[in-house]
Symmetry: C2
Subunit: 259 residues, 2 copies
Amino acid sequence: MPPPTVVSRSFLFSSEPAVASKLEAFARLSADDRAALAEATHNFRYVEPRRDLISEGDKPRFVHLVLDGWACRYKQLPDGKRQIVSLFVPGDFCDINVYILKAMDHSIAAITRLKVAMITPDEMSALTSERPRVTQALWWHELVTAAVQREWTLNLGQRSAYERLAHLLVELYMRLNAVGRAQDGRCDFPLTQNDLADATGLTAVHVNRTLQELRRDGLIELERKQLHILDMERMKDVSMFNANYLHLDHEGRHLDANA
Amino acid sequence: MPPPTVVSRSFLFSSEPAVASKLEAFARLSADDRAALAEATHNFRYVEPRRDLISEGDKPRFVHLVLDGWACRYKQLPDGKRQIVSLFVPGDFCDINVYILKAMDHSIAAITRLKVAMITPDEMSALTSERPRVTQALWWHELVTAAVQREWTLNLGQRSAYERLAHLLVELYMRLNAVGRAQDGRCDFPLTQNDLADATGLTAVHVNRTLQELRRDGLIELERKQLHILDMERMKDVSMFNANYLHLDHEGRHLDANA
DNA sequence: CGGGCGAAATAACATAGGTGAGGGTCAAGC
DNA sequence: GCTTGACCCTCACCTATGTTATTTCGCCCG
């Protein structure tokens, strides 16, 4: 008998499949489960930065799954204002059932160069009909996505610019950590200050001011698309961050001690 | 053969079961489908205004379905600030799969006196395993709920107070109209200015100012918990309202011409 | 029918964050 | 080695919205 495959989680920016990694935050998956996921994930493409994967008005045909890189959902107003309503990092699905809708009510765009799986409705239902644990995990994923969206609503409605940015940075760090792409307070961070502005409902000027403040207060370093959270405890404090909405507390899941 | 049952939709504030009505915005349901829904909806209770149905930290045990009255989801920050992150009107489900989570990350409270069905996980899976159209419709419901949450994110992030309030009023009118509880620009509107403040991320004072402005501009009347939208077209215009996110355009659905 | 109370309305003043414009840096491409 | 274009950073000024406080309204209840 060959020794069991050990999947390492210990390297920063690991290239381990993020999907399985993310779903395992909720449920232990069997080798077969993982294989089925890998199978469904077979068909992928690359999207260049700032390009739409799918645009408002399009008929959705696939479930998308981010394999590598970052993407965002955004909505645009007739007066030109744009809001990034969510961010996708590796391991994130974009709406497990979208294809039952007639038309997209928002667009999804790549932020970095993006590797994204395209799963057909048929493949999805094959997956869910045969693999109950995966199905459960997918539901969990949807619930967490909804919870994140609610937290963003809270973030925009009630937190100051300073708190809001801090909160976003912590959230992204935690989500990356959960898929093995962040550690020791450090992670890739490809968002420009403009993106941050669109995500937080602030102006780029004010995002700049506020990042300076976070730096001055010794909370973060952020340059060259690298984020370093220097003091996680204080960051959580000032942003009133409560990780409960990420629902990561499952089945002996071990998180970065620093997270 | 008996004549087909005709369900009237034509009365304002009709007491027709809102559930079926809402789900039929997406799919035609058979008599059996409706019966199964009625069955699952059997077990209900009343909740007094301002009371929590379920609180942050609780283990969710039921799927809730609003049969009558209004409710809201809210999140509270340690500094006391409170954000209403969504509103429920008759026919709305509160998270079809919540019970797979360990703990609620937010609370749900009654706004008016509330009649709410409590559906057990078992009843849910009975429903979904036997009634594919209902299952589809429930998925659609979840997708719409997510879309509404995104629109709120956009609303808070990019619209001015004036636009934001106008948008919220139009949205609620449309949603009520879709379940037969609004017509000719009129509907019940039990939210206080404080509730509106918590939902829009504004202060009560500014909500008051802004409502005055909407009145002065001849767009709405609002008193005694009754809303009258006087000029729907202009309201949609000023709030940049695009109904696409409600995904109501299905299978010959007929909407209030005024909506 | 009068007291009490939640909600709505106003007012005077304060500030977080927006606006518009300009300059600096760095890497990519010719 | 120059141009171009993202991106980041700063400044001076402005305004939408927040704050605190007081008054008024409408309604329930004894």
